[in-house]
C-alpha cells in the first residue's frame, strides 16, 4: 500500500484530464483492469499517465474466484502484464463468481459459503496470488437473496480466507449496508465480527431502491452520492481503521469531477474526526 494514499476516486473517462491534473493530497484512482486489457492505444496510454501522477488501484470484476473452477490462466497473465506495466498500489477482486463453463455473466454472483466453496476459493486465491506475485484483497459482496447451504457466516468465511491465504480485505461499506438491509441483519453486528485487521481498502458508494419493489430491496447501484447511513458506518469503522485508504465509487449518473472531489473531502473530514476522537 502506498503510504500517501488517502481518499481516492474511481477513474471515469469523462474526468480523465482533471484526474491527471489533480493535485489534492492523498488522491488516488481506481480502475477495473478488464477495461485496460488491450494490446495498445490511447486508453492504455492514458492509464500510464494517470499511474505516473497518482497511486493506482486495480479492482477486478471478472476473476470469478468463487466459481468451481481454477482462475483463467490467460486472464491472470493479462492481469500480471497490466500490474507489471502500471505498478498499482492495490489489487483487489470480489468474493463472487461470474465466469462459468466458458461464458461470462457480467455480474457478481452469489454462492453458498460451504466447506467445499471455502476450499475452492482458498485454492483460487492462492493460485491468483502466485500468478500475480503479490497479495490481493477480497471485497464483500452485495446480497439480494436468502441462500441455503451456508456452513459459515460471511465474516467467519473472510476470516478463514485471510488465515489460509494471507489475502487482504476490501471492506465495501455500501455493500455491508445494502446486504444487511436486504437480508434483515444489523450492519453493526456484521462489522463487529468482520476481520478488520486484514482491511487494506474501504469502498464507499451510493445505492438505490429497487425500481419495482421500492425500499424493501436496495440495489448497489453506484449511481448516487454516498448515503447518510453509509457515512455513519464509515465514521464508526474509521475509529478502528484510521489510516486505511478509502474510495468513492460512482458508475452511473456521474456528476462533475468537482462533485466527486467534494464527496472525497467529506470522507477526509470524517477520517480526521475519527483520528481526533481516537
Amino acid at each position: 500500500m502506498h503510504a500517501s494514499m488517502g481518499t481516492g476516486l474511481g477513474l471515469k473517462a469523462e474526468h480523465l484530464a482533471q484526474a491527471i491534473d489533480a493535485v489534492a493530497p492523498g488522491l488516488w484512482f481506481e480502475v477495473h483492469p478488464e477495461n485496460y486489457m488491450v494490446d495498445g492505444g490511447p486508453q492504455l496510454e492514458a492509464l500510464d499517465t494517470v499511474a505516473s501522477r497518482h497511486p493506482l488501484s486495480l479492482h477486478g470484476v471478472s476473476l470469478s474466484l468463487a466459481a468451481d473452477a481454477t482462475p483463467d490462466a490467460a486472464h491472470l497473465a493479462r492481469l500480471r502484464r497490466l500490474i507489471d506495466r502500471v505498478r498499482p498500489a492495490l489489487v483487489s477482486e470480489h468474493l463472487a463468481w461470474s465466469h462459468w463453463r466458458g461464458r461470462y455473466a457480467p455480474d457478481l454472483l452469489p454462492f453458498p459459503r460451504s466447506h467445499a466453496a471455502l476450499a475452492r476459493i482458498v485454492d483460487n486465491i492462492a493460485r491468483t496470488q502466485d500468478a500475480l506475485g503479490r497479495a490481493i484483497s477480497i471485497e464483500n459482496p452485495s446480497h439480494y437473496l436468502q441462500l441455503d447451504g451456508h456452513d459459515y457466516d460471511e465474516t467467519h468465511f473472510f476470516g478463514e480466507l485471510v488465515a489460509r491465504t494471507g489475502c487482504g480485505l476490501l471492506l465495501d461499506l455500501n455493500n455491508v449496508f445494502v446486504s444487511s438491509h436486504n437480508l434483515g441483519v444489523d450492519p453493526l453486528v456484521y462489522l463487529d465480527a468482520y476481520p478488520m485487521q486484514a482491511v487494506t481498502e474501504i469502498h464507499l458508494a451510493g445505492h438505490a431502491p429497487d425500481p419495482l419493489l421500492g425500499g424493501s430491496l436496495l440495489i448497489d447501484s453506484h449511481d448516487a452520492p454516498v448515503a447518510d447511513e453509509v457515512w455513519n458506518l464509515y465514521s464508526i469503522v474509521r475509529l478502528q481503521l484510521p489510516t486505511i485508504p478509502a474510495l468513492i465509487e460512482r458508475d452511473g449518473n456521474v456528476p462533475p469531477f468537482e462533485a466527486l472531489m467534494a464527496e472525497r473531502a467529506m470522507a477526509d473530514r470524517l477520517q480526521l474526526d475519527a483520528r481526533q476522537a481516537a
Partner: protein, 255 residues
C-alpha cells in the same frame, strides 16, 4: 440443500436464462431479478456502446431489443467487454428482423473494426524509403506485415458512407450511390483514421496478412482490381502507414 458448488452454478445460470431448474425456489425470490437484469443490462449496454453507428441508425429501443436477443445467444466469453460483440455483425446480417435493413450487418462490421483498431498494439510504420533501399528482386521476396492497427473490409454495399454519416449524427443523403465500398482503418497518433481503398488494396492487405511475399501478394491483388494501379495502390498504402516497420524481415529476405 445438497448441491455441489458446480451444481449450484449450473442451476444459477439456468435460472438467469429464465429456464426451469433445480434453483426455482431461489429464482422465485424477488431479489433474483437483480441478477437476471444486471447481466442482461450489462450485455445490452456493451453492445450499444460498441456499435454506436448501428445504434444511431436503428434507434434506442430497436438496438436494445436486438442486443438482448444477441446476448441470449452469445454470452460474453470473458470480462473484457471491449471484446464483446464480434459476432454481432453476422447476427444482424442473418437476423430475420433486418432483411429490410441489409446494410446493418455491414455497418456493424465497421463499428467493430473501429473498436479493434483503437485497441490494437502500437508499432512503428514502414516508410517508403525502406522499400526504396531494396533491389527489385529483393522487394518481390520481401514480406510486408500489415500494421497491427490496420483493419480493412470490402463491403458489397456503401457501408462506409452510411457508417460515417451515422457516426457523425448526419442523415445519409438521398443521392447515395448504392455501390461497393472498401475501407481501411489505421490508428495514427492515437486517432483512428478511416480511408477509402480499392478492392485490389484489400486483396493486397489480405495476401500480406496471410504471409505471402510481396511479389506473390501483388500478383494476387492485381487479379482483384485494376492491375494498372497496383504500384500506385501499394505506394498509397505505404504512405498512409498501412504496413508495420518490417526492417528485420527486409534484412532477412533481401539478398
Amino acid at each position: 440443500m445438497t448441491h455441489t458448488l458446480a451444481d449450484f452454478q449450473d442451476g444459477f445460470v439456468q435460472a438467469m436464462r429464465g429456464e426451469d431448474g433445480p434453483l426455482r425456489a431461489i429464482a422465485s425470490q424477488p431479489g433474483f431479478a437483480v441478477y437476471r437484469n444486471t447481466w442482461m443490462k450489462a450485455c445490452i449496454n456493451t453492445i450499444e456502446a460498441n456499435f454506436p453507428a448501428v445504434a444511431c441508425l436503428v434507434g434506442h429501443e430497436w438496438m436494445r431489443s436486438a442486443a438482448a436477443a444477441f446476448a441470449l445467444e452469445h454470452m460474453p466469453m470473458d470480462g473484457r467487454l471491449t471484446n464483446y460483440g464480434e459476432a454481432f455483425p453476422d447476427f444482424l446480417a442473418t437476423s430475420v428482423a433486418t432483411t429490410e435493413l441489409a446494410y446493418l450487418g455491414e455497418v456493424a462490421r465497421l463499428d467493430w473494426l473501429f473498436l479493434a483498431c483503437g485497441n490494437a498494439a502500437d508499432a512503428s510504420t514502414l516508410h517508403a524509403g525502406q522499400l526504396a533501399a531494396c533491389s527489385t528482386s529483393g522487394l518481390a521476396s520481401t514480406s510486408l506485415r500489415p500494421h497491427p492497427t490496420a483493419r480493412w473490409h470490402a463491403s458489397p454495399l456503401p457501408a462506409r458512407t452510411i457508417w460515417e454519416a451515422s457516426r457523425s449524427g448526419r442523415a445519409v443523403t438521398g443521392d447515395l450511390a448504392w455501390m461497393p465500398e472498401a475501407t481501411l482503418m489505421l490508428r495514427i497518433d492515437g486517432q483512428v483514421r478511416v480511408h477509402a481503398i480499392g478492392d485490389s488494396s484489400c486483396a493486397l492487405l489480405d495476401a500480406c496478412h496471410a504471409g505471402l511475399a510481396l511479389g506473390a501478394a501483388l500478383d494476387l491483388a492485381m487479379s482483384a482490381g485494376d492491375a494498372t494501379r497496383m504500384d500506385a495502390d501499394l505506394l498509397h498504402l505505404v504512405a498512409i502507414g498501412a504496413f508495420a516497420d518490417a526492417s528485420p524481415s527486409l534484412t532477412k529476405d533481401t539478398p
